[in-house]
Subunit: 359 residues, 5 copies
């Protein structure tokens, strides 16, 4: 389940920030030992330069309007280092605060010629998935990406840049931004499909005569997973819609259709989350109906057996009484007559039940 | 049920696209052996030309503003072929990607003088229906239609063109586009009516004393069918509303009322889907109430029989005890007195139950 | 119930239209033998002319901007006749199609100087009501009304025109249109009140100890009736709001307040339908609670009787055993001692139950 | 309960109006014997004139832009009288119709320099409250108020005018209108608080082991009361928002904040009604859970007692059989051995139940 | 629980105001003995002056556009004192009324160069929290804060001003306003986290075989706590959105991003409250399912035991009858044969139950 971890993070974030001035950068995520690693890719249609952990000066030098520079920071736990980078690229202090706090709300904001996108990465991990926050900053000729944890979520994009696949090398920083977001949103689709598969399984098992005993726990877990997806997708959808509508006008007109494509995927995700929630509700209803159906069945068996035998037991008890004067006991035909009487009683009871369709 | 197939398709689509650059055309539907077949209809009010599998050159030649050319591609599984056509008619790469992915979201988009409509075809098939995605592209003087599977959904339109029925031969490409969409939307109505008939049947059976044992499974299946219809209608409605509002302005003013007619039908469909969902909820409620009513009835029988006979059984057991000194046993009137006592007990019990209206 | 009929109509409409070109007039309602009858009223403040089944030429002649002409067609099953009239008054082919299809969606549309209103008439009929579709077309100096079935829904309006009641004779065609719609909307109020009375009755009976056994069927029927009212009112409300907002500008400024009055009534109807639905939900809840309360009561009686007598039965069974060596059986005080023991057991059981408030 | 009366009124109103021309004034409320009484207050900052039942001429004379005249009509059942007043102050016929119909929808409308406000007064009356409709008309220098029933709801305002409290004497007619509406809205708050107190009581009692048997009836009554408040507040809120937004521009800028204050109170009322409804839903849930908890408890007692004693009863029955050859019966240790066996059976049963936590 | 106190306050407020002119200042909160204490902080980037309970003259003197003056009033129960301050700083009478009434709705309003913010402070207190209303007034160069109860909620802000932490000393009054609101909103997050922790605990316990008996009470309490948070956050969100949108234009452009940061936090809070409510609903569902599951289990045990032994008891009763002529009783193999018969009956019963999966 993704829930516990998420809860833990939020708590950490909220408690430690209380009363601090806003805009003061404090890292509120998990502590890490490894240093923040920086990877730089600087490319035009013709040239490509890569560098690991370059100096800030070199970074600053690479950023020119005629090349696209992608600076990927792996880890945001060293506040000093992040601050230096933020100062070099003149990020707003509130953005720095947001990217350091791993439970910020996804959003897209812009100020002057800087576009800031906060996005959650959901990486499938077995049946479950991990949540990570990533910040992207676009400026003229560069994209900064801040990853919370080391990972290879963007390796496919690097490959496309290195091997000149697609049109990424021929476009500007806005297309790179789109490519990075697109990979993340494709990840949502994969996670949603994993959840849908689990819902399918659950739906089939809910229609079985005896559902798994932990069915409701699984429903709760899936609901909570869908809520995580929703909390990642919902705010992002608004943000991307704003970009598509041309607000901030930092995205070139020819790149807008690509962002609209992301917006379409997010709309599909919202549809998928909603339909998943509804199917889970249906499963709970099915389960309750199944449970109450079983109870009915059990009660019907009890009732048929009880009501057939209780009168018979009374009759045999009757002739087990020890009164001195019970004439029936002394007739020769007494015993067979009582057996016959009981057969009639039991038979009419059963006939009554069958007529009512009880068995 | 349409559900399984749908789920399968989505999975296939999502998994294989992950990490690929957007705009790279990959076919993610079911594999097919047959080649893509192309059918061309070129007409004016006076003349009509038909051709099967024409060359691209011939296609390009036919497209002139003074004739309407309808090019119908049957199958989208040969990516090369689709690419050639797309290049000839200058479609945006994202549109090609969308039409190759059979689980895209229905939409209408435009760019320059091209209008792209993605629409789902629901074809009734027995009690169930099939889902197919169709892409329509309109440009000056031509309409391109991409069908996923071979089928005769548009045979009536072809007949109308060939036999000059209606006003289709006197109008432009936008009217042809409308005619094609109208057939698809009429198909939705037929599917919805099929579902409503099944809901009617279910509603009647839910009011029967003993509902079908698979009633809840049927409700789940119908809910899921309604969800398929909804997911086809809902996004299309927004798209058609945008066309009616004159966005993109590729539709002539005199054709707009016809698109508004489609929008009306879509609104009716949305109403129908919503009312169908509500009726299904009511059916589940009825069924639950019926179940709990039956349980009450069963319990009442059990309780009446048990509570009448349990005290009687106690009494007969009492006089079955083997104590040496039980004076009642030796009186001549002992046995009739006990029988009388039991009659009184049973009678007052029954009177109590009748007064409470238990039988 | 109004439901069956409605469902039947929709089916008929949908099936027969599939694949036909839109705008081709086909009557899809019930077949009728009687011819379409036409009634004309032509009036100014001073003069009044009436005519039954006038020729088309006479109709066309009467329509002048300085008189108001109301042409009422009774029956839409003769397509030829309707076509002729439509041609005379230049109605859009889609409007003709809509008015011939008795399950179109209520709406108001305008084109040039023609205003087309499609409205559903609900006529109370005993506890139930009938649904009929009526089309109204307003042009300069005339109103056309197309009724599906013969009926006297507008007799009061005719009386007001003939006897110069109110201000109808002093106003134009837009005021006549308003008067016709107002009668229909007043009919909705009457139907809603009938439904509310039935909900009141049901609410009272749901609080009775033993609710009517068909309570849930009645709730379902009422829900379905409310849905019919809603489906008539909801789209009309949008349509009338558009008229009030001055769209189309075919309604004179001094008549707008009267249409706003209709909009107010429609808003009240929507409120009423919503509150009716909520009350029905409450009734179902009440009924379920009542049912489960009764079950509790039944079970409590069973439990009290069973748990009191089952131990007693065990005790009397114990001393009914035939062991040779059961010393208690031979004591003189054995029988009274067992009776006393049983009294104590039964007494403490009852005390326990009373303390728990079970009876 | 306020419900019955409300229902009755609606019915009366709807039935009698059907087919009548709109704008024809018909009183549809309860019949009354007393004549309509009129009370006039004419004031400036310095002067104050009061008059009871003045002539229409005197009323007309008092209305001047430099004084504020408040004309309060007590009763609207004499249509002639109301008509005269309406003619004197040139009210729109539809407004007259609305104020005569005691079940109109609350609203604010304006035409030229007349502002018409229809508002419902809820007067607390014991645990319950009464509903009355009041119409207010504001024009230059005057406010007309039409009360359905005699009452002293506005006595505090009269006192404030007479004793120069607050700033009411220094402001215009719009401030007087605000003062009158403010008293009514304060009345809503008092009614809502009464309802909330009853919900509090109910909430406490729902958590008791044995809830009041009429809990669901009380919930239904409270729901219906909240619906009455809501139906008074909801449309008024829209109306006041329109006034605050400056539509109609009959309210001076310096009085707008006071209307915004009313809008705030209405927003609080809507919040309160919504939260009250939610709390009632919670109460029903609590009650159902409580009921099903009790059933569980009852069943557990029955099951424990039954399953312990049923096998024991079988054993004692076994040795009550009369076979000639039952060797156990003749052993000396037979009776104690059976007692011991039964102790073991009962003990292990009880141990099983305790382990499962059944008691 | 926070509920009781809240209810009490509302009642006090509503009752005492009824019929009073609006804008008349009456304190409707709890009575207090201590006098209102005033604390003043006057600062620029370089200088800082503090004063306790300064005279009004001194206050008025300090307020200049070139310094920021923060005047904090501790207690609003002395109406005279508050009136004096309000007069000095020319507050609108309605604002004074709002800040004196401790159950006003949170809001932001502006008039000329005054901005008025009403906000609720939620202070965590053990597992629960306290509700307090605070009013903030911003004008050129000053911020007035009115606290209902003494408390140190803003001590961190004072420290930041005194020790020149962050950029608060370098900015204007709008930044100070933001800092004060930010502390309050951070408090909401802490309260929400406390609630989420309790929901986590409850969720875990709901999945236990035997849930805490007061689970539903706890759910009710948590729902009510979430409702308190929601009623504090929801109206504030609208208010802050209006500030961010630049309405009133009293906030400098460079401070707007900080208010947008608050808006983001409020959006997160709304999300959190909604997801908390949904999780509580899930918990109730889980609990109901658990309860009905237990009932099923209990009934199954009862049914298995009863239906196995009831026929056996009948058989032993049969041979306990005292008829003279029961030949089976006298055979040597009679007893073992009956024992065998009973073993077969019991065995087939158990086999039937096992096949049905009942144990």
């Amino acid at each position: 389940m993704a829930r516990p971890r998420r809860t833990r993070r939020k708590k950490a974030a909220g408690v430690s920030k209380r009363g601090l001035p806003p805009g003061v950068p404090v890292y509120t995520g998990e502590a890490r030992d490894t240093p923040v690693s920086v990877h730089m890719l600087d490319y035009t249609g013709d040239a490509l330069t890569e560098a690991s952990d370059p100096t800030l000066e070199r970074l600053a030098a690479c950023v020119r309007p005629d090349t696209v520079t992608w600076i990927d920071l792996d880890g945001v736990h060293q506040v000093d280092r992040i601050q230096e980078v933020a100062a070099t690229f003149t990020l707003h202090p509130l953005w720095v605060e947001d990217l350091l706090n791993p439970s910020s709300r996804p959003k897209a904001e812009w100020l002057d010629d800087r576009l800031f996108v906060l996005i959650r990465v959901l990486s499938p991990k077995g049946e479950d998935f991990e949540v990570e926050q990533i910040a992207l900053v676009m400026g003229p000729g560069f994209v900064l990406s801040f990853q919370e944890r080391p990972g290879d979520v963007w390796e496919p994009v690097r490959t496309r840049i290195r091997e000149r696949l697609g049109r990424i090398r021929d476009r500007g920083a806005d297309y790179l931004l789109h490519a990075l977001m697109d990979v993340v949103v494709d990840g949502y689709l994969a996670v949603l499909q994993g959840i849908e598969t689990r819902v399918d399984t659950l739906e089939d098992s809910a229609l079985q005569p005896r559902a798994a005993s932990d069915l409701l726990e699984q429903v709760t877990a899936l609901k909570s997973d869908l809520a995580v997806v929703r909390s990642a997708v919902w705010p992002l959808r608004e943000a991307v819609s704003a970009l598509v509508a041309g607000e901030g006008s930092l995205v070139e007109a020819r790149t807008v259709p690509y962002f609209r494509d992301i917006a379409d995927h997010l709309a599909m995700l919202v549809d998928g989350v909603d339909s998943g929630r509804e199917r889970l509700l249906t499963i709970v209803d099915l389960h309750l109906a199944q449970t109450s159906h079983q109870l009915n069945e059990v009660m019907r068996v009890l009732t048929v057996v009880s009501t057939v035998f209780i009168p018979l037991s009374f009759i045999v008890g009757l002739y087990g009484m020890n009164f001195d004067h019970m004439p029936e006991l002394h007739y020769n035909w007494g015993y067979p007559a009582v057996l016959g009487l009981m057969a009639v009683v039991a038979g009419s009871m059963l006939a009554f039940f069958r007529r009512n369709g009880w068995f």
